[in-house]
């Protein structure tokens, strides 16, 4: 029998705020253990949580960029379970009335457009960090009560590739909206995968497993692939599926059982009133949202006439897309700029492992450099070296050209002298050319370029040589 995989992802993202979700402790990363906690996030008796307005704004923005319906009324609940990363004995979450419902993300895999629906999106607080050591565990509550947005997708995903693509789209939308850094390696985006199998062509959903502990998109995809294979083997052996949680072991490349899944009971939070949002509030947040990656990419294709593949690379982050548009304003050949950004700029950024925001080559500098090529001051080949220099030093191309004496020699008189000298030194080649061996001209051009250390304007050299040899 043929089986298909049914995959539903649950994503947590840390939303960007200065202070925690219900108290004024700092959210800054990397502080000494337990230095950013207070009676509220420790859950000391009598402490009262008060919701951070920014948390609501960020969550509404997230809901909007994921095409969700933001609900007018939402409320908070206590999700009760016992684990030492939880100072209060419960986690504040939204179980009965989440902030938003019924969204979607459109993805494209193997040129096929697919829609992955989002069941709901809600606000909840993060828990503390446990460090397991020999015979004991250490607890740091700095992370406890940091604001999280949980996004629950419908089980619409059928393969690890679709899962990867979905995460990429989700991340770029959330980053565009400024909601979260969405960095899996640093834990500001976490993803659990629910995986089950069903006979191809049937509709029913079967018992799933939940896979945790993936810390990059690559590992999410690998873990899903492994889990599908494991379940297929298990079905073949006739084993009954059991609902449980499995942990991805990145070193061995396998998932191992962690624990049974017991639903945590939820009761409504009696200290936090409901969140009631009006149209005006939602509209004002909507108006703050930037153009989203998919729309922007389509506009780039239309407006700048660049290929779809270029547009998708250039809109992969808001900062890069902004950079590109700045450049296009200054220099009017969009495809030329796209090429420089995609080949040279992105290569250097990757090599130095930095983002476009830390790049020393400003749009003005890049535009100026390309203008120098157009004017014939430097050759396209030389520009590549000049660009690397610009990237290192942050200097303008014209400055580098001047300092290093790289300027292309387009001065006719200077070149005539070198051409004459070359002709004198190569009488045999000249003869060959005159006998009709056209290739000889190329050799002579090469000699002039060598003489000028590559700085001669090759077009001009060609012209001068042809004239002299007539």
């Amino acid at each position: 029998m043929e089986y298909e995989a049914i995959i539903g992802l649950e994503i947590h993202v840390q939303s960007k705020t200065e202070s925690k979700m219900f108290c004024s402790c700092s959210t800054e990363f990397g502080a000494p253990p337990n230095s950013q906690v207070c009676p509220v996030c420790l859950g000391l008796p009598g402490a009262l949580p008060v919701l951070n307005e920014k948390v609501v704004e960020q969550a509404v923005k997230a809901a909007l960029v994921l095409n969700c319906d933001v609900l007018k009324v939402s409320s908070f609940d206590k999700k009760i379970y016992f684990y030492p990363d939880l100072p209060k004995g419960y986690q504040i979450s939204q179980y009965y009335q989440p902030l938003a419902k019924s969204g979607y993300v459109d993805i494209k895999v193997k040129n096929k457009r697919r829609r992955v629906r989002i069941r709901h999106l809600h606000m909840e607080e993060d828990v503390g960090k446990l460090i397991h050591q020999k015979g004991m565990s250490l607890v740091d509550f700095n992370r406890a009560s940091l604001p999280l947005i949980e996004i629950v997708a419908e089980p619409d995903i059928r393969s690890s590739e679709e899962a990867g693509e979905f995460l990429m789209c989700l991340r770029s939308n959330l980053r565009y909206a400024g909601v979260s850094e969405c960095n899996m390696e640093e834990g500001s985006l976490r993803c659990d995968a629910n995986v089950s199998l069903r006979p191809l062509g049937t509709r029913k959903l079967y018992t799933k497993t939940e896979v945790k502990n993936m810390n990059s998109f690559k590992h999410v995809m690998k873990a899903i692939e492994y889990e599908i294979k494991r379940q297929k083997r298990s079905v073949k052996k006739g084993e009954a599926a059991v609902l449980h949680t499995r942990c991805w072991d990145p070193e061995r490349g396998v998932t191992v059982p962690m624990r049974g899944k017991a639903p945590a009971p939820c009761i409504s939070h009696s200290d936090l009133g409901p969140v009631i949002l009006d149209e005006e509030f939602i509209a004002s947040l909507r108006s703050q949202l930037p153009e989203l990656p998919l729309d922007r990419s389509e506009r780039f294709i239309q407006q700048y006439g660049i290929p779809a593949s270029d547009a998708s690379i250039l809109t992969s982050s808001k900062e890069l897309a902004d950079y590109y548009e700045e450049c296009v304003k200054l220099y009017k050949k969009p495809k030329v700029i796209a090429n420089w950004i995609m080949s040279d700029l992105l290569r250097e950024l990757k090599e130095k492992d930095i983002g476009i925001r830390e790049c020393k080559v400003s749009p003005e500098h890049l535009a100026e450099m390309i203008t120098l090529i157009d004017k014939g001051s430097i050759s396209g080949k030389m520009a590549k070296d000049v660009f690397v220099e610009m990237f290192e030093t942050g200097e303008k191309a014209s400055q580098i050209v001047k300092e290093k004496g790289l300027a292309q020699i387009s001065d006719k008189e200077a070149l005539v002298k070198i051409v004459d000298k070359t002709l004198q030194e190569n009488p045999k080649v000249v003869e060959d050319y005159k006998k009709g061996k056209e290739k000889a001209l190329g050799y002579l051009v090469g000699q002039v370029m060598k003489e000028t250390k590559g700085r001669a304007n090759p077009k001009l050299v060609n012209k001068l040589l042809e004239k002299k040899l007539k």
């Binding site: 004024s24 402790c25 919701l51 016992f82 250490l138 509550f141 017991a262 936090l272 409901p274």
Partner: protein, 95 residues
């Protein structure tokens, strides 16, 4: 609602409590009585009453996103039964 011994064992397991057989019997009876008592509320007609989570008609009680002072680490750990290098120390728990 009838509480069974199995329910008590389940709750005890979640709460990480070890109960003797005698205690299980006792708590089964006690919990059952408590639930029966609370069950009386079901006799009320609440058909037209909206669920309440707060007794005051409050909504949107927000604070501004501003960082304030946190507790000193010494204060934070003051009541901790065990601590180490600024951390709370707990028995090793791997689930």
């Amino acid at each position: 609602m009838k509480i069974s011994k199995k329910d008590v064992e389940y709750v005890a397991k979640l709460a990480k409590l070890k109960l003797s057989e005698k205690e299980k019997e006792k708590f089964t009876k006690q919990l059952d009585q408590i639930l029966k008592y609370v069950d009386k509320l079901n006799e009320l007609d609440t058909e037209k009453v909206k669920p309440t989570s707060h007794v005051l008609p409050l909504k949107n009680v927000f604070r501004e996103d501003k960082v304030g002072k946190s507790l000193e680490v010494e204060k934070v750990l003051e009541n901790a039964p065990e601590k180490a290098r600024g951390f709370f120390k707990v028995p090793k728990i791997i689930d």
